[in-house]
């Protein structure tokens, strides 16, 4: 809302310079977006919040400043208009749907001459950004900006039957609005109609057929009050947003319609050569009565934290136009009709605090306690992110909107159907993502395109699936890397980001969280992973994730130049699998003994089957099975591999002898020979 200081001077005498006005308005809750200095005027652009339609005019701002500065308004309200002896005949006005139109006023003025407005009027409109059109239209706009009440001028000669009625639209009814478009009306929309047809959409826009033209001499001015929610629904349904709808949908002043007409009619008589004016018709079936609100002293003190003794509550409210009566525990207060935002005690308390000044309220630091609030796995989520960061990964943030078709090739184990947004920003991405891999791959690709040679990323975020009548938002964790994990150093070669590196991170994470029984097995069936370089991560019989090289054919299609390694895990099952039992275990009192087994087996025999088969021998002294070396080379057949596996033995009550350790090793070796045809070296 642009306010002209020059115009404001008509309404209130102010000594304060514009800068001061702007600062004070901001502290009153009317923040100033911008100021514009003209040669003889200053414009203040105020960002009026949705609850204060009463401030969408020069009068409204003047009322606020009047209350703040204790300066009475120069002109409180326009005076009533006397039609006089040569009165034009009063127009016939009726309200058919009083639930949507609480008040409808009209006045007819004859002998009008449509012409350009005088300079001063044009200048005022131009200053606040309104294009002058002709004297009649300009006057309605002027009233809108001065008093905040939207008016509409009809060419009376074009109204069938010379009457106006506020009624719901008839089925199939249409109206051509001022912008020339034909609007199809729905039966819940309120229209203004003459005897024959709709001539305007109530509170939104007038009709083209009854529009004021250069030839107009007989004018009917409409000034009404329309139900806010109805105006808003209508304007939204028709995708129209006008100065009128903007004000009506926020709530116009019920007391204003006749006053706005009096003022407008005077201006028309003065500036547009009107000859005769009719009596003002005021259809007002159920006049407004202000609500009575109890304001308790104790409540003011409790909510604001300031003793009421220091607050001139009654005087402040009166200055804002409220009627105030003393009551035993405080006051009984009636708000003025323009304060549509005030209906409860707290609203009055805000008025008191606001006029007193928020900056004058003291600061106290409360020491209130809190009951515990359960939050699922919050600590674990933070721990996972911290761990991955310390592993050298970089956290990313990726958008949730996506195209399921595009993601399909990279989507793993959605928990249901995808969630579709009704009104997406980008029609090409109407879905919420169900997995983190597509965005992870996109982030890796962006980095490769930007010539970043070595990249290690992770993300912990929700994905979204439909589930029954509702939705689930499971948390997932994604890892992605390419290039060198650690760059080459003058003392050592670089360490590549590869399967083992990513797996080490996942194993470290599982270890850090203390999730026992996580196992990995081949994932040749994952279409987006490279066969032979992919593993499922299993926990308690279910798959909770995967690790692997991004399928090379897929990576080529995505134009990756490097090998890409990725992992994705379901966070909740992982967190639920945490073993939270923890107790100190006595340190072993006797030294451990280790024995290495060097043997050759078929390439297809995995380390984990070897480890499991040794563990299954249930040797009580066995403490650990470690892979020390893995070798494939010319001195071994191409379908075989050499392994060096270290067995660590420990006895709780004595030192194991060399002979005992040798016997234990031989038991393990015999089992491997038998089960895997291992050839020992």
């Amino acid at each position: 809302m642009k306010i002209s200081c020059h115009w404001m001077a008509d309404l209130i005498a102010l000594d304060e310079p514009p800068d001061r006005l702007a600062a004070d308005l901001s502290m009153l809750g009317l923040p100033v977006d911008a100021m514009e200095r003209l040669s003889h005027d200053t414009l203040i652009d105020i960002d009026v919040t949705a609850n204060r339609p009463d401030c969408l005019s020069h009068l409204g701002i003047a009322r606020e400043l009047s209350a703040l500065y204790h300066e009475p308004l120069r002109r409180r309200a326009p005076a009533a208009l006397d039609a006089g002896r040569d009165a034009a005949p009063a127009p016939a006005i009726t309200i058919e749907d009083p639930d949507l139109c609480a008040r409808f006023c009209g006045v007819r003025i004859t002998g009008v001459r449509v012409a350009p407005s005088p300079c001063w009027l044009q200048e005022r409109l131009l200053a606040v950004g309104q294009r002058p059109i002709n004297n009649l239209v300009d006057i309605t706009n002027y009233i809108l900006l001065e008093l905040g009440h939207p008016l509409h001028a009809y060419d009376f000669s074009k109204l069938t039957g010379g009457c106006l009625v506020a009624r719901r639209a008839r089925p199939g009814e249409t109206v051509q609005t001022l912008d020339g478009r034909i609007r199809a009306l729905a039966p819940d929309m309120l229209v203004i109609a003459d005897a024959a047809r709709a001539v305007g959409i109530a509170g939104v826009m007038g009709g083209a057929e009854s529009e004021v033209a250069d030839t107009t001499t007989d004018v009917l001015l409409e000034s009404a009050w329309f139900q806010p929610a109805s105006v808003r629904r209508t304007a939204r349904a028709l995708e129209m947003r006008t100065e009128a709808s903007y004000r009506f949908e926020r709530g116009a002043d019920l007391e204003m319609p006749p006053r706005a007409l009096w003022r407008a009619a005077r201006l028309i008589l003065e500036l547009a050569g009107g000859e005769a004016v009719s009596p003002v018709v005021d259809v007002y079936p159920r006049p407004w009565a202000p609500p009575e609100i109890a304001l308790r002293r104790e409540r003011v003190e409790r909510l604001v934290g300031v003793p009421v003794a220091g607050l001139p509550v009654e005087a402040m409210l009166r200055r804002l136009g409220f009627q105030v009566e003393a009551a035993p525990d405080g006051w009984r207060v009636r708000p003025p009709a323009h304060r549509v935002d005030v209906g409860l005690e707290v609203d009055l308390i805000e008025e008191v605090a606001r006029l007193h000044g928020y900056d004058r309220i003291p600061s106290t630091l409360p020491l209130h306690p809190s009951r515990p609030v359960s939050r699922q796995f919050a600590g674990e989520k933070a721990a996972v992110r911290q761990f991955l960061k310390e592993c050298g990964l970089q956290e990313i943030l990726t958008p949730n909107f996506t195209d399921v078709q595009r993601d399909a090739a990279l989507l793993w184990a959605p928990a249901g159907e995808p969630v579709r947004v009704d009104n997406p920003l980008d029609e090409g991405e109407p879905f919420l993502r169900q997995g983190l891999l597509p965005a992870m791959v996109a982030a890796l690709k962006l980095n490769e395109n930007n010539y970043n040679p070595d990249v290690r990323l992770f993300e912990v975020a929700s994905v979204y699936d439909r589930c029954g009548d509702g939705h689930v938002e499971p948390v997932r964790l994604a890892i992605g890397a390419y290039g060198q994990w650690l760059p080459a150093h003058w003392s050592a070669a670089g360490i590549p980001a590869d399967f083992a590196r990513i797996k080490g991170v996942v194993e470290g994470l599982v270890d850090r969280l203390n999730v026992p029984a996580v196992v990995f097995d081949e994932a040749d069936d994952a279409p987006f992973l490279q066969p032979g370089a992919a593993a499922w991560i299993r926990l308690g019989g279910g798959i909770i994730g995967y690790i692997g090289q991004l399928n090379e054919l897929l990576a080529q299609k995505l134009k990756f130049r490097r090998k890409v390694f990725v992992a994705e895990l379901l966070f909740e099952p992982l967190a639920a699998g945490i073993d939270r039992s923890f107790a100190f275990r006595a340190l072993p009192r006797f030294p451990f003994v280790d024995r290495d087994m060097s043997f050759v087996v078929d390439i297809g025999v995995s380390f984990s089957t070897i480890k499991t088969s040794v563990i299954e021998l249930k040797m009580p002294e066995l403490a650990e099975v470690k892979l020390v070396d893995l070798y494939r080379g010319d001195d071994i057949p191409p379908d075989r591999k050499a392994m060096n596996v270290r067995l660590v033995f420990q006895h709780p009550e004595r030192t194991l002898t060399d002979e005992e350790a040798d016997r234990l090793r031989e038991r393990a070796a015999a089992s491997l020979r038998k089960r895997f045809q291992a050839q020992f070296r």
Partner: protein
Amino acid sequence: MRDDLARIMEGFEAECREVRDEPAYGLLRERYLSREKGLLTLQLKRLRDLPPAERPAFGQEVNRLKAAIETRLDELAGQVRLAAYQDRLEKERLDVTLPGFPVARGTLHPVKQVEAEICGIFQRMGYAIAEGPEIETDFFNFGALNFPPDHPARDAQDTFFIGDGSFLLRTHTSPVQIRTMQAVAPPLKVIAPGKVYRKDTPDATHFPIFHQIEGLVVDEGVSLADLKGTLEHFARECFAADARIRLRPSFFPFVEPGAEVDVSCFFCGGRGCRICKGSGWIEILGAGMVHPNVFDACGIDSERYTGFAFGMGIDRVAILRYGVPDIRMFWENDVRFLNQFHRF
């Protein structure tokens, strides 16, 4: 024969002076003290050739000489080892200016860092962390928060709808207020960070997904003064030790009285600069006293309890603090950008 011993001593002294390293020392020691062929052993063997009367005296002479040579050799051993050690030091001298072995540098996302920092400040004040879903219903996102249907207050939060309007993507973290108050009876002190969604076309200052953090305190006797004190404390921990705050009346349907909260500009200290557009203040938060209608929707007695709530955009704080020129950079994930935030 005494002269022989004197010559041996002279020779030994001369040879000692030639010893530079451990092998030469070893040879020298061998040459004089070897049990079989050492020069002193040979002298002792000569005792047999002497008349018995002279043997004790000569024996004593040889032993004295042997003791002197051993003492001297031990001394020499120390010198040789020291020299060898010094020699090794020189050979093994490092160029300490060479780069050390690198550690893979990880980073947390700058927005998440700011989120963690803000959560930390409030957790130290005794706030619990609360969470809620991102796919919400109209009731939790608007209705229970005192946004009437068909009210223009909803315009400020252009909403993504789901399931033909039966669900929506939360436009603020405020629904967590409702969920928390419905689940837990007062007294309550919670902070709720999370993603929120508004249908804004992406540009330098807008992205349809961003992060907010919501605060809520409900107890008997919570006042606007308490809100001011709390936010002042927050501003001092988060922005600058001497930060000031300013509350301006404003409108959010779920609070009354409501306020916009400015923090004194942490770039210019409030004198006025480019960042604060000369005003000395930066708008950071929305806040206010919990509206009685919100308490009603949660079944909390608004006569007995009062409360305050506040909310702020985390991305915005990160942008201001680090001077990031374009919010979209937070979502691009170029590691050259992420690398800059490794300090925390």
